[in-house]
Amino acid sequence: MTEILESAGVIGRPLRRKEDAKLLHGRTNWTDNIQVPGALHMALVRSPMAHARIKKVDLSGALAMPGVVAAYDAASLGDLNANVLCVWPVTDDTVMPPFPALTGDKVRHVGDVVAIVLATDAKSAEDAIAAVDVDYEPLDAVVDMIDAMSPGSALVHDAAANNTCYVYNLGGGYADAAAKADVVIKRRFVNQRIVAGFMEPRAVVAAPMGMSDEMTLWSATQIPHVLRVVLSLSTGIPEQNLRIVAPDVGGGFGGKLQMYREEILALQLARHLGRPVKWNETRSEDMVASHHGRDQIQDIELAATKDGRILGMNVTLLANMGAYLQIITPGTPLLGMFMYCGIYKMDAYQFQCTGVFTNTTPTDAIRGAGRPEATFAIERMMDELAAELGMDPMELRTRNWIQHHEFPFTTAAGLTYDTGNYEAATARALELFGMDELRAEQKRRRESGDPVQLGIGISTFTEMCGLAPSRTLGALKYAAGGWEHCTIRLLPSGKVELVTGTSPHGQGHETAWSQIASDILGIPVEDIDVIHSDTGRAPYGMDTYGSRSLAVGGQAIKKAADRVIENARPIAAHQLECAAEDLDFANGAFSVKGDPEKSVTLGALAWAAFSAHNLPDGIEPMISGAATVDPEDFSYPHGTHLAAIEVDTETGKVRVRSYVAVDDVGNQINPMIVEGQVHGGVAMGIGQALYEGVEYDADGNLLTASLADYLIPSAADLPSFTTDRTVTPSTTHSLGTKGVGEAGAIASTPAIINGIVDALRPMGVTDVLMPASPQNVWRAIQAAKGAGA
């Protein structure tokens, strides 16, 4: 079993991030800061209609504008047009319509791209797109998923009958479980559509590299390595001629885990015209063009005995694909299908998901990808079942959760959770929260009929991180693997280059990865340079998403660092004139067992390897270590989040008064970074619960096209979070770590909604639509009053 890391070195220390001085001083290299001489600026003509046939595109007006160098529609782009690829057909019969970079026949969502203009500067390009004349023949728009599947609905793609992309089934046996149950509860939840909301909008620069065949693409992406493969497959540019660089990237949250049409267009036209091409999106473009997330209708049934033992769960989902399939659109809801059981034991689990096309922006992964939806459903259902049984919601959870001595435990969904200690995390959270006083206050407010009611929201969640092993991904028909790579090189001066295949965009990998290597090699953190996010300098990798970077990439760092020591050992033995086995390694130096005075540092060995004047026979003049690790299994962080929620019953306004998050992410490399991830994640999950939501009208027009209408909370809207961690190391990961990038966002949404419903349950409220805006809360109260009357 993996030990709790109690390192004398730098693992586990809350070191300040190496990255921050540069960020705070503005010495940053965002894609839009990259100036390539002679660059053409690209602007896109986007559809104002959700669904229409393109009758005619007239580029002549734009071509006549000053500064315009070229303009294309799908017809004139011809063979340079290429498809955005989906790498996850989830079933043998998943309908996979083509998604061309420029659409020629029809537009299928507001923001779909009909034409592009290239000009010598950004302003001229923007002026010129207004001069492109497109003649549309409007078609009925398909917006609502249930309408989309009704007979007679217009079709987004002719190949997708009933607008159905796929139907996926897992598990079974629910009917038998329900037949034995004392209570069966059914609920419908709507997990609304959201945007990723990264701070830095997307940007692309594509440039031919002089007289060579190489094309370099700088992109604000999370996935330079995966992008290189899919762009090569899509455009036919030989992979070896394509270099992808993700420079400083200002947030992603899954929204930059994508292959975007703008990347294809910039690359193809830069190659074709032999000139660099640059594009930078506006926030308004981002709202229609960067993929959206969530958007599921969840029909959930839970069957239980009257003393609260869960017998079975039945999950039936409609998942909105949007108008096209992007990189993992169909698979995103399925990333949640194993997590609907949460931390609970049950006999039967049955799951069905139907993917539905609509005339809306494509959906794909956003922070948590499938798991937030699953966690929301099970944690809401636990509260509903507790209310149905008249039981305390925490007591119901305690009766059903996997106890710490029962691990490893195989759930009804078929996953084996390696470790966990839900009792410990919950006990700590309750201690920090002051549950008894809050319940007493809740009682007082109820009795006095206070217009502001108090609710207590619980979320005892788990999730799966790492998206590996590759074999499992293959069984799910996902095209790529789940491994990660690291190379560590000792430089002649004793400094270290650590090359990782992860691709940070705000997470602090440079600091955390240095800490791991420093701890193992005994070389100071500041002497370690982390190289990443450039396929020219860090050629192997699977990038950053799904809380995989530490969970998978961290293991590769450990293995590579261990190999450095092993590769240095024969040189040390040669210098110290002893057998390799007679050496100890500690604090960056080898010493002879029993004679610690005789020692040599790694730094000295690096020079010895470089000069190569006196190496043992058969030893190559270089000290490095490389490792590619495909993990044994997923990792399963968990935690207990508790929220005290005030609901103003007269206005519907909700205030999160206090929030306690106790997470168990296994061993922590840098607790301050963990803390930051928890804070950001919790804030984002609260955003979904209370503020955020993409809305369309019946014609498919986007009503939330700017951040004035799509509301994202700021610090002023959130309480000061109280956080802590319990540490139950993962047993399937060599560092005992789990993953923390998504946990907060997964946990907090149901905690908030459970709190609101808890506050209002005496009024007869059993659910409230997200986002729980004043109007949605007020309507839930009015509906309950109406039903009660």
Binding site: E126, D127, S284, T651, L711, I712, S714, P774
Partner: protein, 284 residues
């Protein structure tokens, strides 16, 4: 996004500004703090040919005591208004409402004149001007004129200021000794009001002697709830305030958007009016 091309002039007097507007024709636009105009330009929802920047006109700056009124230059920023001792002493309601405008950065740029001339139905200051009986001094090619608030706000984003005119200042009758409260319901801290109620009252022996009530975002422009004002006279209990506030939504036809339908807005108008008055009067 990048605004369309425009010419730019920066006059130093009101007369020069008017001349620039006349020369610019229908397409000329005044730039105040730019907090509403710049988004319009960047989204290309407007493409004026000339921008007349009024931020360097001395006459439009400053807050002065004019005896029975406080005169606020159109170029005074929200931050200056909210912090002004004169405003705080004599126009407590204006100070209270202005503190709710947007966030600190925007309050340091946005101006009294811009907010009034823009006339966003969700703007926090227009209902205060209406309820307190402010008057607006407007300069145009034919000279200056003064317009009462009741005639200034015409429709959605439309005021009595003509295309070749400049709003120079706003004069608020002093309400010295009146207490005030601005009750705003918005979704996030920096967002516009879904609905807000502006209340200022003069108390006499524990009862309300006089009240002025304005409503934000309950129609195409600011609304003054005169029926509530009258019903409040003599009120000294929460029950009396609540009864008076029941009339707050009467005769309103609020807009519907993703944040609220008309029914919810009317409900909010009643609830927020009750709360604003109670807090202004110190009655609970």
């Amino acid at each position: 996004m990048i605004p369309a091309k425009f010419d730019y002039v920066r006059p130093s007097t009101v007369d020069e500004a008017v001349a620039a507007l006349v020369a610019g024709g229908d397409d000329a636009k005044i730039l105040g703090g730019g907090q509403s105009l710049m988004p319009v330009l960047r989204l290309r929802m407007g493409e004026p040919s000339v921008i007349v920047d009024t931020t360097r006109i001395d006459e439009m700056k400053g807050i002065t005591d004019a005896g029975d009124a406080i005169v606020i230059g159109a170029g005074v920023t929200h931050d200056e208004v909210a912090k002004s001792p004169l405003v705080r002493e004599h126009l407590a309601l204006l100070a209270a409402a202005t503190e709710h405008v947007a966030d600190r950065q925007i309050r340091h740029r946005g101006t009294m004149g811009g907010a009034m001339a823009h006339a966003d139905p969700a703007g926090d200051q227009p209902p205060v001007a209406l309820a307190m009986g402010a008057s607006f001094t407007i300069a145009g090619p034919g000279g200056r004129r003064t317009v009462p608030a009741s005639e200034f706000f015409v429709d959605y984003f439309t005021t009595a200021v003509g295309p070749d005119e400049v709003l120079v200042s706003v004069s608020f009758p002093k309400h010295t000794g009146w207490s005030a409260h601005y009750e705003k319901l918005n979704r996030t801290a920096q967002a516009w009001a879904i609905v807000a109620a502006a209340a200022t009252v003069r108390m006499d022996g524990g009862a309300i002697a006089e009240a002025r009530i304005g409503l934000t975002n309950m129609g195409p422009g600011p609304i003054r709830a005169t029926a509530v004002e009258q019903a409040l006279v003599g009120a000294s209990t929460m029950a009396a305030i609540a009864a008076a506030a029941e009339q707050a939504a009467e005769g309103t036809s609020p807009t519907e958007d993703i944040h609220a339908d008309a029914e919810f807005r009317k409900h909010l108008a009643r609830t927020l009016t009750k709360r604003a008055v109670a807090k202004a009067a110190g009655i609970s």
